[in-house]
Structure formats: C-alpha cells, structure tokens
C-alpha cells in the first residue's frame, strides 16, 4: 500500500506522509473480537433490540393473522362465487360461456378429428398386415377391429354424457366448498364471542385456499393495525433507539482509553467510527433475527389459542415475510443509526483526553 506524500515539496512538511484508511475487513475483525470478549455486555446491548423488534413483530404478526382470517375466507368465497357463476352460465348456455350448441359443435369437431386419427391408424395397420408374418397379422387384425368398434355412433353419445356429468360434479364441489367456508365463518364468530375458547369444529381447508389467502396485497394487513397498535410500535422503537444509544455511549465510555491508545498508534477517526458501527450493526443484525423469530412464534401461538387451527389454515405467509423484511430493515437502521453519535464522539476525542478520563 502506497502512502501519498503531502504537497509541499520545498518544505520539511513534505517528509510527512498521509495515513492510509484501513479496509472494512480490519474494522470487522476488531469489532467481532470486541463483541466476543465482552460477550455478556454485548448481550445486554442486544437484548434491547431483541425486545423492540420482537414487540414490533408480534404486533405485525397478530395483525397479519387477524387480517388473514378475515380476508382469506372472504377472498376464497369471492373466487368460488365467480367460479359458480361461470359454471351456472355454462349449464344454462348463458353469455360469456359456451352454449349447449357451441359445446356440441366443439364436440363434433373433436369427434371428427379423433375419427380421422383412428382411420389413419387403421389404414397404417392394414398396410403393415400386408408385409407381416402370420402371428403379427393376427394381432394387427385384432387391433384394427378394436379401432373400428370405437368409431361406432353409440359411443359418441356416451362421451357427451360424461362431459355433462363432469360439469355437474364441479358445481357440486363448489357448493361443498361454500358450505365449509360458511361453517368456518361461524366458528370464527363463535370463538370471538366465547373469549378465547378454542373451537371444536375444524373444517379442512384446501391448499388452493391457503395460497389465495396469502397471495395478493401482502401489505394490506397494515391497514388492520389499530391506532393503539401503531402508537405502541412507535413507542417501542423509540425506547429501543434510546436504549441502544445509551448502551453504545456506555461502551464508548468504557473504552475511552482503548480509543485513545488506538489513536496514538495511528488510527484515523473514520476507522474508530467503523469499528463501533460494525459492532452495533452486527449486534443489531443478530438481535433483529432473534426478535423476529420470538415475535412471530409467540404471536402465532397466542392467535392459535384464540382462533384454533384456522390460524394455520389461513396463515398469511406472504404478509409475514413482508413484515419480517420490514422489521429487519427497521432493526438494522435503528442499530446502525444509534451507534453513529457515540462512535463519532469517540473518534473526535483527542488522544490525551481519552487517556486522562479514567482517573
């Protein structure tokens, strides 16, 4: 690494070089050593961010689950209603769906195509018989007979019937889902009324329904936050911020002498800031992850005790992921931001001041 010379060529000052800035890797190394050596001290600093993020995350999780329980069946209901309408129109031959005549035309076309394919197959096999041995010829003749039988008119009618049967089955299935959902709605209402008593009836939810509840508008749950929730979340973050600033100031205070020594050994201010920033951000990162985990688990358990298994049927994974991401960003910004002030005050100190303080 080169050192730049000061730009005063004809002066003695020229002999003084400029100190180089050290890479982040060095700051990271020193910061992690310091965390390891002062493990319990670091844990206390970290606990404040864990608590704040766990609190924020539990509010978001319970809101998201409540929103999921509310929105999930609603969305499911809507889509089923639409599906039902389409099927009904198809049965009646209404607008927007193929009419009976159209279905029959389509069927006739399909039938003609199948017939053509089979006729081609019969022709190919008849050609093959000409050059085949007697055993093969027997087998091929049997196949040709079977194909010819398929082409009989009576079979076509059976196929049309099975098509109509399928449509009917689909309608029945949709009706069945509607009943299930209505039952779940009732269960949820009962649970809310019975204040925390776990419901008995646990209707089974189709996987498709879960996906629908989770997808689409993963951020909509935020509108379910009550003003109290928002106020509490902001308050928790503020307390956490002050807590980290305080903890970092204490850490800096404890290490005045170390900082002064480092400056005497040639550390630049920016390097000292880097060390403290890395330390705080690393603690913030681990703390945020722990906080998110604790918040989600505790809050989900609580919701499960109140609402029972529909909590998991309609678990809004998309929303939870989105909330976790936001909480992670908040945690990191908070912990890094809280370290800036103490770190700068530490770095700006003259080495002499730093040395003097301990007595």
């Amino acid at each position: 690494m080169k050192q730049r010379e000061a730009a005063l060529p004809h002066n003695a000052q020229a002999r003084i070089g400029k100190q180089i800035m050290l890479p982040w890797s060095k700051a990271i190394e020193i910061a992690f050593k310091s965390i390891r050596v002062r493990f319990w001290r670091s844990m206390i600093t970290m606990s404040s961010i864990i608590l704040a993020i766990a609190f924020l995350m539990s509010i978001w999780t319970s809101t998201a689950i409540t929103a999921g329980l509310d929105l999930g069946p609603q969305r499911e209901l809507e889509s089923l209603k639409q599906r039902l309408a389409v099927v009904r129109r198809a049965m009646r031959g209404g607008a927007g769906a193929p009419s009976k005549a159209q279905v029959e035309q389509q069927y006739a076309r399909d039938l003609a195509a199948a017939r053509a394919r089979k006729e081609r197959a019969i022709y190919a096999k008849q050609q093959a018989i000409k050059t085949a041995t007697s055993d093969e010829a027997k087998r091929l003749t049997a196949e040709v007979e079977a194909l010819k039988a398929d082409l009989e008119a009576a079979k076509s009618l059976a196929l049309l019937e099975s098509y109509l049967l399928d449509r009917r089955r689909e309608t029945e299935a949709v009706k069945g889902r509607l009943d299930t959902i209505l039952q779940q709605e009732r269960v949820k209402g009962d649970a809310a009324a019975a204040t925390g008593e776990a419901p008995q009836a646990q209707p089974e939810a189709a996987p498709a329904a879960k996906a629908q509840a989770g997808s689409g508008g993963i951020g909509t749950f935020l509108s379910y936050m009550t003003p109290t929730d928002k106020w509490l979340a902001v308050l928790a973050l503020l307390v956490c911020f002050v807590g980290i600033v305080n903890a970092m100031f204490m850490t800096v205070q404890e290490r005045f002498r170390e900082i002064g020594t480092m400056k005497c050994l040639g550390a630049l201010d920016a390097f000292i800031v880097k060390i403290f920033l890395v330390e705080s951000t690393a603690l913030g990162f681990i703390g945020t992850l722990a906080g998110i985990l604790i918040g989600v688990v505790l809050s989900t358990l609580r919701q499960w005790l109140v609402y029972g298994s529909p909590t998991f049927s309609y678990l809004p994974l998309g929303s939870l992921g989105f909330a976790a991401l936001m909480a992670a960003i908040v945690g990191l910004v908070l912990s890094a931001g809280a370290a800036i002030l103490p770190a700068r005050s530490a770095a700006r100190m003259e080495p002499v001041e730093a040395m003097r303080i301990e007595e």
Partner: protein, 243 residues
Amino acid sequence: MQQNIVRTREVTKVYRMGKVEVHALKGVDLEIRAGEYISIMGPSGSGKTTLFNMVGGLDKPTSGKVYIEEVDVAQLDAYELAWLRCRKIGYIFQTFNIIPVMTALENVTLPMVFAGLTTDEARDKGVALLTKVGLGDRVSHKPFELSGGQQQRVAIARAMANDPSLILADEPTGNLDIKTGTEIIELLQQLNKEQGVTIISATHDHKMLSASDRIVWIRDGKIDRIEERSDVKIEVGTIEGEA
C-alpha cells in the same frame, strides 16, 4: 546525529477551567537531539505532562511552535498527524494501555496494520519484537494473563513496531514495583543504545535519572534547569547498588 528531533519555541498552553485561565506552560524553549535519553522531571501541576504531550504531538500549543523532525506539528492535518503518530513516535503509558481484547502479538502488530503492512510481515516482525523484549514465549497471551511488567514490555514492543525515531514514555515505571521498574528502565536504555531511538520520559522515578543523558526540570510552567548526566553521577551509584 546532532540533529534536533524535537524543538519547541516559546510554547505556551492555556487551559480554561470555567472562568479561570490556567497557564500550564509559560514559554518553553527546548531542544532534544536525536538519540538522546531525556527525562522530564517536576512536581505535579508543574506543566510536566502538558509539555510531554506537546512534544509527543498529542496536544497543540496555545502559542509558539513545536517541531518534530523539523516539521511544524500545528500545520499537520488529521491524516498527517496519524501518520506521524503511527510511524515516527512510539508511546508508552503509565497504565500500559494494552488493548484488552487482543493478544500480546495482536497488540504489537496493530500499529503495523495501521501502517499498511501485510499480516505475514506484521506477524514475523511482531514475534521478533516480542522476543527482543523477552516475551517470545507469551506471544498469544491475553493482557489479563500477563503481569504488569510483562504488559509494559508488550507496550514497549508495540511502541517499537514501526521503527519510530522517538519514544515517549509517560511515567513508564509508575505502576510497577522497584525491581520490575528497573528492568523496564534497562530495556528502554538498551533500545536507546542499540537502536539509537530517542527516548523522552516524564517521570517521578529517580531510578530513571541514572539512565538519562539529560534531565529537564520543570517548575511552574517553565524550564527550571537542565542537568547533564555527569551532574548526577553520584545518584547513579546509589541506585545501581540498590538494584
């Protein structure tokens, strides 16, 4: 060799304590030659520590000039000052100031890292320096596993890390017992003789005087007198007898 490594001109320092102005230094002219072993002596409150910090580039004078290797310290920006502290000056403190989270070797190599040496170069040089101060077998010990004398040896090795031309020792024996203190003084003396490094120490310790080429007595913010080594011959005998 007769070049001045440190030169002060009319240096004054005024501290403001509330509304009261404290004149810590009242015009100090001092010239320290390269390769000298100098002790700054004086009662507490005499301005001894202030002068010491001035010549070490740790504090800036209110008026007057401080030159280190003929460079005006007041003219340097933060980067140049850090460079000077890193490469030209080694510091030894009364309280050792070993960085507690690092091993002996890491403490010694830290200034080399700041100077931009590679890890391998720094490690080899660090081990050599620790061996020189008699701690070759304690390279990977943490500070709390070392005695006071051993910690001060680590600090001396650390001060020598970038081959400085000047070592500043602030009461280096202040926290040590007589025997260990004497060992540390001998080590400093040896570095002074063998490497030709200039040593400036602020001290109360009369054992220090025997090792010094010159003793600068500070009283009331001014230089009271400067004694040559020859003037304190008698004391040398007694101290060495004790040790």
